[in-house]
Amino acid sequence: MDASTFFQNCVTGISLGSAYALIAIGYTMVYGILRLINFAHGDIFMMAGYFTIFAIVDFHMPWYIAIIFVIIATVLLGVAIERAAYKPLRESPRMSIMISAIGVSFLLENSATYLFSGLPRAFPELGFLQKVYHIGDISAPIVTFITPVVTIVILIALIYLVNHTKTGMAMRAASKDFEAAKLMGIEINHIITITFVIGCSLAAISAILYFSPRPMVYPFSGLMPGLKCFVAAVIGGIGNIPGAVVGGFIIGIAETFLVASFPSLSGYSDAFTFVLLIIMLLFRPTGLLGEKIAEKV
């Protein structure tokens, strides 16, 4: 692999990793507070892809309005899911709420197949995002360069939010101890809603950035990215926001280089992620940046 191919792969990998990181943040925040693997998160991401298609192809919105529309629509969808499917089960056993999450995922996939047909739909061009840009030997659409920048900015904003605001303090309290946080007068439902709003808006941004260099959206296109990003969150240490970003980068870059250096193994690139998960769980189950939590009775 010569230098320019190497850098080209670096750019692609970092860009893919940033998109993963944004989804992984959504997983890690919800898991941190509710101890729930939000199986529907990947499908919310897929729906955001469809919303973008509707906004630009069907409603002919300019791209800057389309982005806002997509974020708002995705957030509404996510909060509605939380209210309808997760909130009524807050007091019930963990398995019920996980089954409910799977039910939502199943429902979203099937509804997308039913409403938008199972055929893949072409993803539209978003204004300047697709313009190919050259730096030295490396050429890629602008979106590839923008994605990591967006991710880093969002990460900094989120770290500020969590560590230096009252809402962030309430979130940390809720993730440490749900019951105690409630007793301290924290509006727990309010905090959970905020968590879902953040998670879903990041999923929407990620969908726009992820699908832009890719040609198609289809009802199951959220499945694999969703699973991979949960793995990313676990690798970084579940419940830890910078950890999720690190995990996303690791998976994105590793996947890109695996496919580039061993083209014959490209069919196994998805499998690789899960091998990574198992290795991680064997040697450092708390993740790279996670802290150890003792199981309480």
């Binding site: 996980m98 014959s264 198992i278």
Partner: protein
């Protein structure tokens, strides 16, 4: 005072006779279906699917419902079993036709196994994979198992369709010309045997340990139950029977490809066990039959329907699956017990259920129902009154404590001054 209803138990011998009669009825029913005396070949097909799904459903319930470990790899284990049976039972002379794009690998080209051996091998291979996945993950929180197994079942699919596997699995072309069932007895007997073995496991000391783990892991561990050993056992046994079920499915369908083992299959199985009741074998079997028949007879949802020339816009492909996913949501949200909860079918239960009817009817005639309801309401009210009185006294007590506290504080303050 109305008479209390007392649950009566049947004699042991009566129960045995009833069970034997039920088994006999099942055998006769299978025979009649098999010989075409009742039902059509279409019904036989659905019954076969229902029986196979019962086996796989019970195997999934063993992990999810009885052990409380959330595993979502059933589709992957089914795929392993199905491909094992498919690859090794296709007759040699049909193989050139099946592997027409890329010839079958020389090592297995002339290698044909009898159905039973191939089936067992599929089950064992699935169990081996389960043991490999379970070993690192089951020692940790079981949340990760859900993701790892879900990922595993997708990987199995990817590996089967991958280019390098074409000489063995025929890749995305899938396998066909798998010899099918000649009688209905084969799947029924194999499934029944599998379910019986799992029931025996559940009723053994291992099964009680599974249930203890489901109720409270920490408590079970402190009672001396080896968490990892039992979880792994339940997971491996479940994968074994899922593999067997997948093999049966391959023989039933006679043509398989990797797309038939998508995650959606696992979700459907989840619907079956949740509807039947997490932790109920008989519930799973009942709901497997309900879902299998429902899936076939609700096919009209997917076809365009019209009333007097006006086409109803909601009927189009995909509606059926939307309804099934809504059903899963509805059961989880509003009816978490499912059909059976954690109960099992028992003759005593049936007996008392029917005995209750005339009793209820008589009571209704006498008007006892109303009086009983009234007394109940009264007693509830009385209970509430007692409760509120108790809480009042408690509150009073607390008030007294508080005032005492305050006085103490004042004293302390005064002392300090």
């Amino acid at each position: 005072m109305p008479m209390e209803f007392i649950n009566k138990k049947l004699n042991k011998s009566t129960k045995l006779i009833l069970t034997l009669l039920l088994v006999l009825a099942c055998i006769i029913l299978t025979y009649m279906l098999d010989k075409g005396i009742i039902g059509t070949s279409y019904t036989v097909r659905i019954v076969r699917i229902a029986v196979i799904y019962s086996l796989i459903g019970v195997s999934m319930n063993l992990v999810n419902g009885f052990t409380g470990v959330f595993s979502l790899g059933q589709a992957g284990f089914m795929a392993i079993g199905a491909y094992c049976v498919g690859i090794f039972t296709i007759p040699v002379d049909a193989r050139a036709n099946v592997y027409y794009l890329e010839p079958i690998s020389d090592k297995i080209a002339g290698f044909v196994l009898p159905f039973g051996v191939a089936l067992l091998m599929g089950g064992l291979l699935a169990a081996l994979f389960a043991a490999l996945i379970g070993a690192p993950i089951l020692k940790l929180k079981s949340d990760y198992l859900a993701i790892a197994t879900l990922g595993f079942s997708e990987i199995i699919r990817a590996v089967i369709a991958n280019e390098q596997m074409w000489p063995i699995t025929n890749g995305s072309l899938g396998l066909k010309s798998i010899p099918g069932f000649t009688t209905l007895f084969a799947p029924v007997l194999i499934s029944a045997a599998g379910i019986t073995l799992m029931v025996l496991l559940i009723n053994s000391s291992y099964g009680r340990a599974f249930k203890a783990i489901r109720e409270d892991e920490t408590a079970a561990e402190s009672m001396g139950i080896n968490l990892f050993k039992h979880k792994e056992l339940s997971f491996v046994v479940s994968a074994f029977f899922a593999g067997i079920g997948g093999g049966l499915l391959a023989t039933h369908l006679t043509a398989i490809d990797s797309n038939q083992f998508k995650i959606a299959v696992t979700y459907e199985l989840l619907l079956i066990i949740v509807l039947g009741g997490l932790g109920s074998v008989t519930g799973t079997v009942i709901s497997a039959f309900m879902i299998s028949f429902g899936k076939e007879y609700l096919r009209f949802f997917d076809a365009a329907q019209s009333i007097g020339g006006w086409q109803i816009p909601i009927f189009r492909p995909g509606l059926r699956m939307v309804i099934f996913s809504l059903l899963l949501m509805a059961v989880v949200l509003f009816w978490r017990r499912g059909l059976m909860g954690r109960k099992e079918f028992s003759w005593d239960g049936i007996y008392n259920f029917f005995r209750k009817w005339p009793w209820r009817f008589k009571k209704l005639m006498r008007g006892d129902y109303k009086t009983e309801a009234k007394t109940k309401r009264k007693s509830i009210a009385a209970g509430k009154a007692i409760d509120s009185a108790a809480s009042k006294s408690k509150r009073a007590g607390r008030k007294a404590d508080k005032t005492a506290d305050r006085e103490k504080k004042k004293e302390v303050k005064a002392d300090a001054e």
